[in-house]
């Protein structure tokens, strides 16, 4: 049916064109730049080099940053799953009105700018902040303490932004699982806990995987929260992309961006391997 294929091509053309012009081409250009020499005056000097990558690979400092980036991503993913899943499970079993209200409530914080939210955390975790003040009053510590500019501040800050994405993705996935499957498991003698482990959890694996991937990509690309809550002391990979750009080392920034992209793909692959969303083969 040539006419049908022609019309489907026509439908496909705009998104392909859009992706090609605004994503694939810039990405190729970025890859190209990452193999060029840094230049003080220009964007780059047209002298091909591997230096941008070899420096990252050989420098123990970057190893530390990559490790740190992966660790905070892993902690955020695990926390998003452990905290988000029960909420999503609850939301998916509410009737439509209650579910709408709950999901709306989860999204309200997202309506505040990331900058404002980060300063909110500063007010809570800083030396003069709520946590420090409370600990002082109770007498657990004897001098003001800052919880900012460290792992816990960045992780907490990101977690609160990303959790709603996880919950909403999971809720949608859980809602597509017909109640009959749970009843079938019960009929076969599985109590609530075993029904969850053997049926609900594996059947929601596509939702778990897409939720975790979404959180991964948002974590690795988050800048404002990392910059404000990590400060100069606790930097992630994304911070160095920014630093390189501000010191006009564009090729270095491009190379770091690719390392970041590769990290994202590796994490995505690990998620696919662990969660195995592909095992839910259609709904028999």
């Amino acid at each position: 049916m040539p006419s049908l294929r022609l019309s489907s091509l026509a439908l496909l053309a705009p998104p392909v064109l859009l992706l090609g012009v605004f994503f694939v081409m810039p990405l190729c250009y970025l890859l190209f730049v990452s193999f060029m020499t840094n230049s003080m005056g220009d964007l780059y000097e047209t002298v091909p080099t591997l230096a941008n990558y070899t420096e990252i690979v050989s420098d123990p400092f970057y190893h530390l940053i990559i490790e740190r980036t992966l660790l905070s991503t892993a902690v955020i993913l695990i926390a998003c799953f452990l905290i988000g899943y029960p909420v999503a499970l609850y939301a998916s079993r509410l009737e439509a009105r209650g579910r709408l209200l709950l999901l709306m409530a989860l999204m309200v914080p997202l309506m505040v700018s990331n900058v404002v939210r980060a300063y909110g955390w500063v007010a809570i975790l800083g030396r003069q902040g709520v946590v420090s003040g409370t600990l002082n009053t109770v007498g657990l510590v004897d001098r003001p303490m800052s919880f900012l500019y460290d792992f816990q501040a960045v992780t907490l800050g990101l977690l609160t932004i990303l959790l709603p994405f996880m919950v909403i993705t999971l809720t949608n996935s859980l809602m597509t699982i017909d109640e009959r499957y749970r009843e079938a498991a019960e009929a076969l003698g599985a109590g609530p806990w075993r029904t969850f482990l053997r049926v609900t959890l594996p059947m929601s694996s596509p939702g778990i995987a897409s939720g975790l991937m979404l959180v991964t990509f948002l974590t690795l690309s988050a800048y404002v929260t990392v910059a404000l809550l990590g400060g100069p002391r606790y930097k992630l990979l994304v911070s160095f992309v920014f630093d390189s750009v501000s010191s006009f080392r564009w090729p270095r920034a491009a190379a770091l961006s690719f390392v970041l992209l590769i990290l994202a793909l590796v994490v995505a692959a690990v998620i696919q391997i662990i969660v195995r969303p592909g095992r839910v083969k259609g709904r028999g």
Binding site: D178, R180, Y181, E183, A184, A185, E186, A187, L188, G189, A190, G191, R194, T195, R198, V199, P202, M203, S205, R279, V280, K281, G282, R283, G284
Partner: protein
């Protein structure tokens, strides 16, 4: 598999959802080893009744017994029953073999015994070589058989089937009716199935309970219900039936004597005895009417429809419409407008109570 037969008993069991009475108090015993059909239109309470046996619903009042044990209040997973769902509900992330093994694993049957029993159950439904496939790779009929194997492999007390054939096309449905019946006979398992298809109920069941608006109207063997319906609803829901109005003249040992179109006829009496002089509804199956020159009552031929093996004749019996189904060769020579006489066997006319 050893024979396992338990009875299912309802004692004044009822169920309401808020103000809606899904099931009015029901007292009914399903004998061990029977294939029992709950038949009725949608919303009649048949599915609620089945779900009460399963434990997916708990009764608002009354009790449910399985194998003589009061299971009221017991959650589904603590009752020992197998169930086939309308949509089959095979777990899509598990293979056919893993689906069938599920119930055995929940009962902590050893690994080696699970393997043998799964194989035996799959062989039973002629799917012995499909253990490693996923449900989505099977046809509708094969999925149905896997669902059956999964439901019977752990030798449950009762097998429950919720509209088990409605997801299949007509040809396959008729084949599966026979297969399920044969399987049930072989296992001797007490089986309750829900259907809205009267033909399915008549073909498969040992006993049928006809339900309507949350009430049990009549229960009995298919032949009894078909030949001796006691209400207009049962008479017309199970197969086609003519409903005629007559006047009661008297009762003589289990027979109602009534005036129909100026003639005295005899009909099997309903459980509730009618009063003399009252109007009464009589059921008469179209296929039991004979048309000829002699007979009980006179009628006029209105029209007929040729249906291959049979002819459906529309008649007018003193103002009451009436259908008769005749073998095609018996209808030769009938013409619209002709006056004919009708006769039927003594037991064909049944007086209804409602």
């Amino acid at each position: 598999m050893p024979e396992r037969a338990a009875d299912v008993r309802f004692e004044a069991t009822e169920k309401s959802f808020g103000p809606v009475h899904a099931l009015h108090p029901l007292s009914l015993t399903i004998e061990p080893g029977t294939l029992f059909a709950l038949l009725g239109p949608s919303g009649c309470g048949k599915t609620t009744t089945l779900r009460l046996v399963a434990g997916f619903e708990q009764p608002s009042a009354g009790q449910v017994f399985i194998a003589g044990k009061d299971v009221t209040g017991l959650p589904a997973y603590k009752r020992n029953f197998g169930m086939v769902f309308q949509s089959f509900a095979l777990f899509p992330h598990l293979t056919v073999g893993e689906n069938v093994a599920f119930g055995l694993q929940m009962r902590r049957v050893s690994r080696s015994e699970t393997a043998t029993r799964v194989q035996r159950a799959l062989d039973l439904v002629a799917l012995g070589r499909y253990a490693d496939r996923y449900p989505s790779e099977l046809s509708g009929g094969q999925q149905q058989r896997v669902a059956l194997a999964r439901a019977v492999v752990f030798e449950p007390d009762v097998l429950l089937l919720d509209e088990p054939l409605s997801a299949l096309d007509k040809m396959l449905r008729e084949q599966m009716q026979v297969e399920i019946r044969q399987l049930q006979q072989r296992l001797g398992m007490t089986t309750v199935f829900v259907t809205h298809d009267q033909e399915e109920a008549l073909t498969m069941a040992d006993r049928i309970a006809v339900m309507r608006d949350g009430r049990l109207l009549q229960a009995g063997a298919p032949r009894d219900i078909y030949e001796r319906p006691d209400s207009q609803f049962v008479a017309t829901f199970l197969g086609a039936s003519n409903i005629l109005t007559a006047t009661v003249e008297g009762i003589e040992d289990g027979t109602v004597v009534a005036a129909l179109a100026g003639q005295t006829v005899r009909a099997a009496a309903p459980p509730r005895q009618p009063e003399r002089g009252a109007e009464i509804a009589l059921a008469l199956r179209p296929e039991r009417i004979a048309i000829g020159e002699t007979g009980l009552v006179e009628a006029r031929v209105e029209d007929f429809i040729y249906r291959g093996a049979t002819v459906q004749v529309s008649l007018d019996l003193a103002g009451q419409p009436l259908n008769a189904t005749l073998p095609s060769d018996r209808a030769l020579g009938l013409k619209p407008g002709a006056q004919v006489r009708l006769s039927w066997p003594d037991d064909a006319l049944v007086a209804l109570s409602g």
